[in-house]
Symmetry: C2
Subunit: 113 residues, 2 copies
DNA sequence: ACTTAATAGTTGCGTATATGCATATATATA
DNA sequence: TATATATATGCATATACGCAACTATTAAGT
């Protein structure tokens, strides 16, 4: 009775991983190159366990990979296409914001110079 | 006290819209061209209110747009970049699946022919 | 070599919040 | 009135977060 997962389900799971501000920020940080957990913690400025949880989610889904180096565990992006996907999302967002500000300026055009 | 939304928050909101199997299926259907709600209902095979809710979410976020034509309301994709983003996600997924099957065949290589 | 301590990271748990769906009801056009 | 679509409500599930406890690696002291 275990319902088989469709392509749509699987694709949604990937998207779900990227549907978190913190995780996007992590990916954005790792774009520059691999980093230790502590470095990521310092960048995000949130509690370590929270970062660790997000990293675990992304590692389990295959978005990130990790290796140990002495005391540290170093995370990096497993598949560069994820970065592309994120950039595209950002473009979509930026298009939306421009459209929205266009609309906003139509609605309040006197105020917005 | 209303916390200002960061770029990451906004981007996550876009991703969240795409983080649903049903919504991905809707986008996939609309890739071919605009469709009425009933047509989409027939394609997905789920209750009409459910479809309507998903459509509303995507319209409010600016992913879809709609217009009325007589009795029908016709939905279409507002920004083609969303389609690209979805394709990229699909590629990421397909890469993940290949890697995973590679790993799987290493682990169970005797059984898997 | 054995113990202790310190640092890095993970895991478990309780809770608050959000999301998806089903059912029922409402609105709009013809 | 009939058809197309939207909204409201309630519930079940999932998720993020904070906090506490745990594990693992390295270094220091004896």
């Amino acid at each position: 009775m275990t319902r088989e997962k469709s392509i749509y389900d699987l694709q949604a799971e990937i998207c779900k991983v990227l549907a978190s501000p913190k995780r996007i920020e992590i990916i954005s940080a790792l774009k520059e190159g691999e980093k230790t957990v502590t470095e990521i913690v310092d960048i995000l400025g949130i509690p370590k366990p929270n970062v660790s949880q997000h990293l675990a989610v992304m590692r389990l889904k295959g978005i990130l990979k990790s290796r140990r180096e002495g005391v540290n565990i170093i995370y990096s992006i497993a598949n560069p296409k994820v970065i592309q996907a994120c950039s595209l999302m950002r473009e979509v967002l930026s298009d939306l914001l421009t459209d929205r500000s266009k609309m906003a300026s139509l609605l309040t055009r006197s105020k917005s110079l």
